[in-house]
Amino acid sequence: MEKLLQVDDLRTWFRTSRGIVKAVDGVSFDVAPGKTRAIVGESGCGKSITALSILQLVPEPAGYIESGKIHFGGEDILERSWTDMRGLRGREIAMIFQEPMTSLNPTRTIGWQLSEAMTVHGKDAPAARARALELLERVGLRDPNAALRQYPHELSGGMRQRVMIAIALANRPKLLIADEPTTALDVTVQAQIMSLIKELQDELGMAMLLITHDLGIVSEVAHDVSVMYAGQVVEAAPTRDLFHDPRHPYTQGLFASLPARNRRGKDLMTLDGIVPDAANWPTGCRFAERCAHRLDACSAPPALHGSGTHRQVRCHLPSAMEVTK
């Protein structure tokens, strides 16, 4: 099947005083039209930077895309200039950020900001205004008419995230990048927001790239999962396969550290050690330090085995390589 988004060997680096920080170091994945790909990993693994790289919004001047290809609808969008990217942002690819409290401009009304999302891409003001109201209704704001004239600080976090969703979906994008859309919200609100996103995704037939560290959300909404560790994808598979049979020791560790019914009463497992320094990745397997199944071979970098549609694992362990054959 034709992929909507295909990221190949993306490297996004940062120049810092400690040297070059390779935050994203050879990441590949794809998203099929209408499907959801989750990127899972702990803080600092490079998942958010991957998302920002797609829109070419990596914080400048320190950050830059060193190499790689990002194909969207068949076109390599890294070839586009910053100005040309503008037509894509918000219209074809929209993004929801983690912090609904600060992602809205405090000095502008909700209606203004929602309309702007549309007028930027050529919609005339009255039409944008009308659609803004419609959108606010659709995302479930209690009093959409009043909300148009309200300022961000007058809304709760959950309501603000609903507004962010309305803004992101205003132009019916083909791809939604959701960067930890529920992390900053209360648990009860998280579920509401996630199901709203899912509902709207189905309604618009939109693909989604979901960045998260919450495996519970992944199991509910994602079709495919890529697990990132230390700037690389260490394992990728259809969600069901990955949850059923994680192969990479890091993925296994992630699952083992979740509370589960069959381990009731036991301590939660933790992964020992810390993520290595991004300015100075180990030459071999980046997870070797913390890995319980370490081999001699692990001092050499493991390749990502397997094909893109099924399972891919970056590990030297025979058990990991086996399933990929």
Partner: protein
């Protein structure tokens, strides 16, 4: 056009100014930030006193801007002239005195002078009032030069960074290492004496502080999530700068402009005192102080000239500063130190 009509048309400018101020105030009151700030200001007693004093000064300034053409003297007469101008005496007289001082043979004076008269017998109270309009003109016009310049350069340097930042930072670093007063004197000597010339001289040397602040704030806001979200929506840099970042900077800009205004009033006095200020035929507190230079050494001491001018300056500058501080607290209570 007949001078009568022309001078009546002049009156439109102060009226337009009041209109603009009222419109801005009413629109600002609609926004939650300023609406709340105004309510806090109204509750703050020292802000109320400061606003009342500024209001009195402003009323005098405006009254001195509304006038008509006097056919007999062939000069413009303002409301202030009509009410407060007194017939000149021969020379100095103390406040409310009956006789002149400083003459071998003191003369009986013709009218009461609340603050006495100066060396050429002019009413000191009237001269003090005439300084109000000049102070506001210089403060206001300089602010109109400084603010756009500082905003333009500060926003550009802060948002785009790189070479633009380097160039702008370099310019203001150099400018701020030259003593401002020397530059101002040099500029007035080159451009000539006059209100507009002084405003230019003050404007060109005074934008650095505001520019530096705007640059810093812009750098801070550039990294905010809402700017990133706007970029993710495909909003252009120009629109982000003008319609997203600028409204967030307005509180600090307005506060620092208010505080800067009082500084400008003082600067005018200093320049006039140094003899490079406004022309002699324009009312000016600086000129009054300059003229009073030797008066404290006389016997009997001629203190009222200096006292009146200094008092007028202090009153305005103090209330502007109090108002600026109160405004800062009202806009963002967290800034209170």
């Amino acid at each position: 056009m007949s001078p009568t009509l022309l001078h009546l048309l002049y009156n439109l400018s102060p009226l337009a100014l009041i209109g603009v101020a009222v419109v801005i105030f009413l629109r600002a009151r609609q926004t939650p930030l300023w609406g709340e700030a105004f309510r806090r200001l109204a509750r703050n007693p020292s802000a109320r006193v400061a606003m009342a004093v500024i209001g009195i000064y402003a009323t005098i300034g405006i009254a001195d801007s509304v006038g008509w053409y006097d056919a007999t003297t062939q000069e413009r007469r303002t409301v202030i002239d009509a009410i407060f101008e007194r017939k000149p005496e021969r020379t100095y007289s103390a406040p409310l005195a009956e006789m002149t001082t400083g003459e071998a043979k003191p003369q009986k004076i013709r009218e009461k002078h609340i603050l006495g008269t100066d060396s050429i017998g002019a009413d000191v109270f009237y001269r003090t009032l005439k300084g109000v309009r000049t102070a506001f003109q210089i403060g206001g016009m300089t602010v109109l030069i400084v603010t756009p310049l500082a905003l333009l350069l500060g926003l550009t340097a802060g948002y785009y960074g790189k070479w633009r930042d380097d160039v702008i930072t370099y310019i203001y670093t150099v400018l701020s290492s030259v003593p401002g007063i020397l530059l101002q004197i040099a500029m007035v000597l080159v451009l000539g004496k006059g209100i507009i010339q002084i405003c230019l001289a003050l404007g060109i040397t005074r934008w650095v502080g505001l520019c530096r602040m705007v640059r810093g704030e812009t750098i801070k806001h550039r990294e905010r999530e809402y700017v990133r979200s706007a970029k993710a929506l495909g909003v252009t840099d120009m629109v982000i700068l003008v319609r997203h970042i600028l409204p967030n900077l307005l509180p600090v800009v307005i506060i620092s402009t208010t505080l800067g205004f009082s500084n400008l009033v003082l600067s005018e006095a200093i320049l006039s005192y140094l003899g490079v200020g406004v022309p002699d035929n324009v009312g000016s507190w600086g000129n009054m102080i300059d003229a009073a230079r030797d008066e404290l050494a006389r016997d009997p001491v001629i203190w009222w000239n200096l006292t009146a001018a200094t008092g007028a300056i202090t009153g305005l500058a103090l209330s502007l500063n109090l108002f600026g501080d109160a405004l800062r607290d009202a806009v963002d209570p967290r800034l209170r130190s």
